[in-house]
Symmetry: C2
Subunit: 501 residues, 2 copies
């Protein structure tokens, strides 16, 4: 397999460049002094541009052709056949993107991110508006490299969630909204849970130490990873042996940093669980944004906000925060962390209203790309639609259109649908795991996660991106993506919590 | 100046790759989880190899030829003429190094460093011996790319301290040793200073905060830099806007982290002071290892261990560490931090014996390269020579041959002479500055460093590597490198301190 070996060597060099760019991005958001931003943007652009240029080179195409012949008789799911198949798909896709556009987009993303770090605390949309306008222009130019789309967002959605389109996401979201809104209404008719116990002050060290204790039991491998603080939490992979998460924290919120940590740990467990033999190839990444998000939401919510989880961990949290939680019983605490309410910030939202936040953003992405909404009108449109769909006035751009980093650190389009796809899939995967291993909920009650983690590693994680999202969902669950398990989970959890028979 | 513009663009892209490799190295020594080391070594090798490959490409040579014609009439010290001249020199030098050797050396350096981080605490030379043997082989192969040398170390010395050779360094060191040894002897005949007040315990935060307060007054710009903790302190530059230092610390040593901080700050002030117009080019670095070290030793010792400096800062240090230093007067403290004694660790050594440590290493580098000493015998030879030249038995390899990171994180040869060249030059530069501005010592006594910093920036820092070390020393001081100012400084400081009339 001479061509395959040469292909892998070439891909590993490209991977080195891409992962190095990721280290530079990680550093920009964690430790970089502010004046480093200008050169950093250029350095990231250079690395990303070189990686793209080498990837789309005709030589990669020739090696792919030759390697396809060498691996033609191998099973579909073998490492070798998968590498050639998945890389071919990516090559056919990426070869249409000019290197200059990729480099310009990467440089702009880093510059725009830095502006956002100042603009959000200052509640100053105007200062990032020109950046966002350029982001929209770059997003359109990127989409236009793929003529023949039904909707201009389709190529961008396909980058993140291959197989989805604006129309299919819209249809899915429409159906989901019709089932979620009645639940939100029903809950709103009931007495609200008291969440004041969460709004007590606890030192950063205490909060972080507890989160790290939990994710260690989840299976986060600290020899191969670490956690740092950032404005907007994320997970990033530099190699099989180096998968990092970040978290945020608030002194006056006991569980904000915790749930952010559990969320990012879910992403990290996925990346840490990818077969090490795939390292350095395009297969060593999650299958899609939606599949990735299914893991963050599974560990954050289906595990981390479950009553069983807290049966084990609540005494430990009380011991870590005796002054704050010593007098609060398990049930009121559990209701507090699952309080359903209309709220301003997506990443703080409960599981029920969360998807309404995502749908708002998804619709705005489409409208921005279509030119129905101009960037200069975005803060006003955000406020209008937010009040209309979530039912809450937006007091500031800081907690409105500036709240999410994504549009300020990448492209507009394709970014947000993955969050709801992930919510849906988290329940579908979890239900399948419990069906295979009915003892999982009992294990969780004992603070043991080995069976669940092992099942996910075996069925989802180790494959990396060998399979398309559709292929993987069918392989794992035996059926296509479905909102039924998700709605069953929400109804089964929140109806009893709110005494809705 | 079409060619010059194209050359600069090309050099900036190469600079992006090299600086990105530096970010990856910084991360490896500060935050990287241990299992990340394998992929990290490969990533650094890929970036360094690509940077080298693009630099030595014939196209760079063609652009240099054309740019030389375009800039032929410009003054010697203009940015443009300097860029072409200095880059030409580097190109002629680097074009003889095969890219594969550069990449292999970089990958090996990262692997070897990681092994050293385990071997030194474990006092386990054997575990790094194979790495060190390979380092020696790579060092020889590198030197052999430059046939015609007088000594095999000459090409390596020239990388770091252009213009120096094994023979010239030996002669210089021989002369210096003859003048230092009598001073060491004379001091040894006098009652020793009591340094026990420094061996009290102080928390990390207190130690670091005081160091940061001092370097802020030196002029370290925290918008363009930061400090982190590492096993072996260093300074690194990613851009004009991003210059970082690291420090170490010991709970039971009040000033260990402080002097390491002042030392690295000296390096950082140099890099921060380079004209921003040179950023992204080969000119945006110090002129040589020796010139660089002159700045770290100037700020650490000529400023930071002077009595005038402590007249201002000692009350502040006492306020930060009242339990430890409240009862210790300025003079005993000043004598304690300038105590001259035979000691095990180079980076802890006082100013007088320090150069004996450097000379030992320099001689060993030559002997290793010549094959007079084998790596497997190095621990024994180290012990023998150390006892012979410093007069102290070496209790362990941890505090013997394993103490310095350098041989375990790069090449053998050319590394150490810069430390003593820097010591010599620190006094020569400082004397010149004080001659130009006789008020500098008084300013230091008031905790003001603007005149000194400004003079260094104007005369040394802003030029980057426009001038060779020899050219720069002559420009700045009006004469060649000389040990006289250094000996005058040592005698003038230590004779009174030890009552040696």
């Amino acid at each position: 397999m001479v061509a395959l070996r040469a292909l892998k060597q070439r891909l590993t060099e490209i991977d080195d460049l891409s992962r190095a760019a990721s280290v530079l991005r990680w550093d920009q958001t964690t430790y970089m002094p502010p004046a480093g931003a200008g050169a950093r943007a250029r350095q990231i652009a250079t690395l990303s541009g070189l990686a793209h240029e080498r990837f789309i080179d005709a030589e990669t195409g020739r090696l792919l052709d030759a390697a396809a012949r060498e691996t033609a008789s191998l099973p579909f799911e073998s490492d070798e056949a998968s590498l050639v198949r998945v890389t071919r798909h990516r090559w056919d896709r990426d070869v249409r993107l000019p290197t200059a556009l990729v480099a310009e987009t990467e440089e702009h993303a880093a510059v725009s991110y830095q502006a956002w770090t100042v603009a959000r605390p200052a509640d100053d949309f105007e200062s990032v508006r020109p950046h966002l306008e350029k982001t929209l222009e770059l997003s359109r130019r990127t989409a236009e490299c793929y003529p023949g789309y039904d909707h201009i967002a389709d190529p961008l959605i396909d980058f993140y969630d291959h197989g989805m389109k604006a129309a299919s996401v819209r249809e899915l979201f429409h159906g989901l909204r019709r089932r979620i809104e009645p639940l939100v209404e029903a809950i709103a008719s009931r007495p609200q849970a008291d969440a004041s116990c969460l709004k007590r002050r606890a030192p950063l060290e205490t909060q972080l130490a507890f989160g790290l204790e939990v994710i260690r039991t989840f299976g986060f491998d600290f020899d191969r990873g670490r956690q740092d603080l950032t404005r907007h939490p994320f997970m990033t992979r530099f190699a099989h042996g180096d998968v990092r998460i970040t978290t945020r924290w608030r002194e006056d919120d006991l569980t904000d940093s915790l749930f952010s940590t559990l969320h990012e740990c879910g992403h990290a467990l996925y990346e840490m669980g990818i077969d090490p033999r795939l390292d350095g190839t395009p297969l060593a990444t999650g299958a899609s944004a939606g599949i990735h998000e299914s893991q963050s939401r599974l560990w954050e919510n289906l595990v981390g906000r479950s009553r069983g989880f807290w049966e084990h961990f609540y005494p430990r949290l009380q011991a870590a925060m005796p002054a704050q939680l010593g007098g609060v019983q398990l049930d009121p605490f559990h209701r507090a962390i699952n309080r359903v309410e209309r709220s301003l910030i997506r990443t703080d939202a409960d599981e029920v209203t969360y998807n309404l936040h995502v749908m708002l953003r998804f619709d705005l992405e489409l409208d921005l790309l279509e030119g129905r909404v101009a960037v200069r009108d975005l803060p006003r449109v955000w406020r209008d639609r937010f009040e209309q769909s979530i039912g809450l006035p937006v007091p500031s751009d800081r907690d409105g259109v500036l709240q999410d980093v994504h549009w300020y650190h990448g492209l507009i389009g394709g970014v947000f649908q993955g969050y709801t796809l992930g919510s849906i899939l988290s329940a579908q995967f979890f239900a399948t795991a419990v069906k295979a291993h009915p003892g999982i909920p009992d294990e969780i009650r004992r603070g043991a996660f080995g069976t669940l983690h092992g099942w996910l590693r075996e069925n989802v994680y180790r494959h990396g991106s060998k399979f398309t999202p559709d292929e993987l969902v069918r392989r794992v669950t035996g059926s296509d993506l479905s909102v039924d398990p998700y709605m069953a989970y929400l109804e089964g959890k929140y109806r009893p919590l709110y005494g809705l028979g």
